[in-house]
Amino acid sequence: MALRMWGSSTASALKISCASKPHLYLSRCFSTVLDGLKYAESHEWVKHEGSVATIDITDHAQDHLGEVVFVELPEPGGSVSKGKGFGAVESVKATSDVNSPISGEIVEVNSKLSEAPGLINSSPYEEGWMIKVKPSSPSELESLMGSTEYTKFCEEEDASH
């Protein structure tokens, strides 16, 4: 996500939830960070399961973007590159690039988002997923942040503003 974390006296606190309990969401005052996922500094997450990696923006990202009204996604069969944009979301009169945390071939795109872009807001870690990728360089996942590191990253960004 093309953004940095917002800091204010009432900044969102970040809590870690276990991926085994995906429905354990906290109050809307808090952004959820799921354990078991990997995170990019640009606020996308990736879940690597077998030969496929699922990618989307984080709960904190969607919260700061506001209501998503349109999602621009690539076609299956295309490729993504680590750190490069692959699509965009529109919210509050703005298009915001979404960047891929890893490189690979796009094997599936979430077609539900064309009719229900708000899934990104309501279900950022489940139904709102954007693309599934076959990683071309699995070692790229190692350079991403885990949940604890991402939480700390967000807290440090908050503190710097």
């Binding site: 349109f70 965009a88 529109e90 009169k93 915001s96 690039d97």
Partner: protein
């Protein structure tokens, strides 16, 4: 005696380009390319565009937003731009102001839509200080509850753009090409175009608005005027902008699908 430049020591540099009557498609192409390929900050001011043109946001659906039959009959050009937001019809009475900034250009500014608009609203508050009841209201620039400027944005990994079309004046007839949007701010209260918008002309002379905008930008950036010719050789020839005209065929298909 202090030289003017010394007041700007420490401020980030911003290139200022001023046009008069530049075609809106060309303006948008320049903006999109600068956003995607330039590492510098930019302010672009275009004092009017040549022909009346409809400009939709990236996700705009012609059948929902336009009176397509009239648009086709009168051959009004329709552009889909690269930023979000709504639909406007622009002409020589529209003044365009654009800011393209690196994410570090404005201290403590988060590159989120509402944060950027809060910054721009603050900048324009300086322009309109003491003039009308100016404010940023539900993401629109208004005097009271009348909108006079439509804005939109695009945010990339390292940069953002905020561009605005200000209604210095407008042709009432042109508004008839636009339908009432399904998504509208609450303060619009279902008002038609003519009851919802107002003219900047009623509040401030044209040249004063432009001069004050440059002055306001100059309080935050060290401005350097550039001509288009100076950057044309630097613009990447391989860049392909997404902003484009919609074809008549596309509009006809949109109308047919919508059952118009």
């Amino acid at each position: 005696m202090l030289l003017p430049q010394t007041r700007n020591i420490g401020l980030p540099m911003m290139n200022l380009m001023r046009f008069k009557g530049l075609p809106i498609l060309q303006q948008l192409h320049i903006e999109e390319q600068l956003l995607r390929t330039s590492s510098e900050n930019w302010c672009i001011i275009n004092d009017g565009t040549n022909d009346p043109t409809i400009v939709m946001g990236v996700s705009g659906k012609p059948a929902e937003l336009l009176e397509i039959e009239s648009v086709l009959h009168d051959q009004v050009p329709v552009i889909r731009r690269f930023t979000g937001g709504g639909t406007v019809i622009v002409d020589h009475e529209t003044i365009f102001v654009t800011f393209i900034c690196n994410k570090e250009a404005v201290p403590d500014l988060q590159p989120y839509p509402r944060s950027i608009m809060s910054w721009s609203g603050s900048l324009y508050s300086k322009v309109f200080q003491g003039i009308g009841d100016f404010r940023l209201r539900e993401n629109d620039y208004v005097f009271g509850n009348h909108k006079f400027g439509g804005n939109a944005q695009s945010i990339t990994k390292n940069k953002w753009i905020h561009h605005t079309s200000f209604l210095w004046d407008f042709n009432v007839r042109n508004m008839a090409y636009l339908k009432l949007p399904k998504r509208a701010p609450a303060y619009r209260s279902a008002r038609g175009h003519l009851d919802f918008i107002c003219r900047l002309n009623d509040y401030m002379p044209r040249s004063t608005f432009i001069d004050k905008t440059v002055e306001a930008a100059g309080t935050q950036f060290s401005l350097r005027s550039l001509e288009l010719e100076a950057i044309e050789t630097c613009l990447e020839t391989e860049f392909r902008p997404s902003t484009r005209f919609l074809t008549s065929e596309e509009l006809e298909v949109a109308a047919a699908v919508a059952g118009q």
